[in-house]
Subunit: 216 residues, 2 copies
Amino acid sequence: MTTRKDIAERNDRALLQAARDVLAEDGAHASVAAIASRAGVGIGSLYRRYKTKEELFQRLSVLSLDHWNEAAERGLADPDPWAGLAAFVRSCVEFGQGSLSPIAGAVEVTREMSAKARHGDELLDELVRRAREAGVLRGDVTAVDISLLIEQLGRSPLVDQLRKQGRDDLLPAAAEARRRLVAIAIDGLRPGSRPLPGSPPGGELFTDRWSSPRQP
Amino acid sequence: MTTRKDIAERNDRALLQAARDVLAEDGAHASVAAIASRAGVGIGSLYRRYKTKEELFQRLSVLSLDHWNEAAERGLADPDPWAGLAAFVRSCVEFGQGSLSPIAGAVEVTREMSAKARHGDELLDELVRRAREAGVLRGDVTAVDISLLIEQLGRSPLVDQLRKQGRDDLLPAAAEARRRLVAIAIDGLRPGSRPLPGSPPGGELFTDRWSSPRQP
DNA sequence: TGATTGCGGAGCGAATCGCTCCGCTAAGGA
DNA sequence: TCCTTAGCGGAGCGATTCGCTCCGCAATCA
């Protein structure tokens, strides 16, 4: 038997996942109608849970930060420094961290969010430091590089395109191709003799993500 | 002295580059007003050159396919198989091939475009075959994987976000960080003992990109 | 200098936006 | 079993943004 509460919880989860999907496809222009439709939920139901579009996006941001931190903790708990780091990256990519970059500069950043972001930075720094000391990470790869890698891999243009064309039959193949791509990119982090171009990016790029002022 | 013709040509180049930039940031929702504004050109001037928005996007697609094919020819001309492949990928990423995926399924695909796309597929296949036979490419990396890698790296979320926040001072650092990221991803293509997950994607995924029917 | 080219942007109708409100279905209580 | 009511879906609101047209005016050519 499905109680009211069950339906509500299922709808809420569907809404959050749909919001991530639509954000990944449409970026900052993602509309609430598209999110509700993707979730298979009426617009009215969305607005009973979230007073405004911004409130939904803030909730999404907090959940995303929580996932980042939990994944980093799990990675640190792994005795193998490389396995821990790789699992962290993979988890963040699969969660869809990268799809949130369009709203990172658009939502009001609460004190809670910037505190969690700061903590997440520290955890990633530790993951990187541990992997580098163990010699399983390219010496010139920084935490900023990994953060950007996660963001860059967050979207799946091919999956988006196929879905818009209604080629649902090819979606599994596309998802698998994407998984291979992520594996390739992660392998690029392992030690190699080829130096990366340019100087390592400073911390300013990283810590600024959730704390910089909104565009007026 | 700047003649009328000079101004027209400069404007046309600015429009095409602006279109790529805005497409990378806003995806399929990119507006002509945003493109013209980014190019520093009036909307009227844009519409004298291109009758409709679709015509601009088609021109962009053809230029993109041309660049792909020329970059692949240059890569094949390089006696070093790995250097040729890496230069091809880097050139396509820098050109912004990835930013066109939102319109690939939206514009009317002409016979000319699908012919060029088919030729581009053959060139990439040859680049991959050559590199693999030379032993400078992971044995389980396919042409599809490389095509997806180019598409995935085509956007630069961090640069977009910083620009929207008006942090132009950080743009050079962000661009450099992106260059490092591309280098990391390309390095992942080199031979390694770690097998990629899943089975190699079939050609259906690849050749379908510019030839599949439009969504009704 | 007069003719003319072509640039920039105000403004058009149409489409889409975020959001409100309400009829109606179906779960809960007796 | 039947009434109550929680809560879902979507029509429709005003505001905004869309693609695109048209024209006044500055700058170039003859």
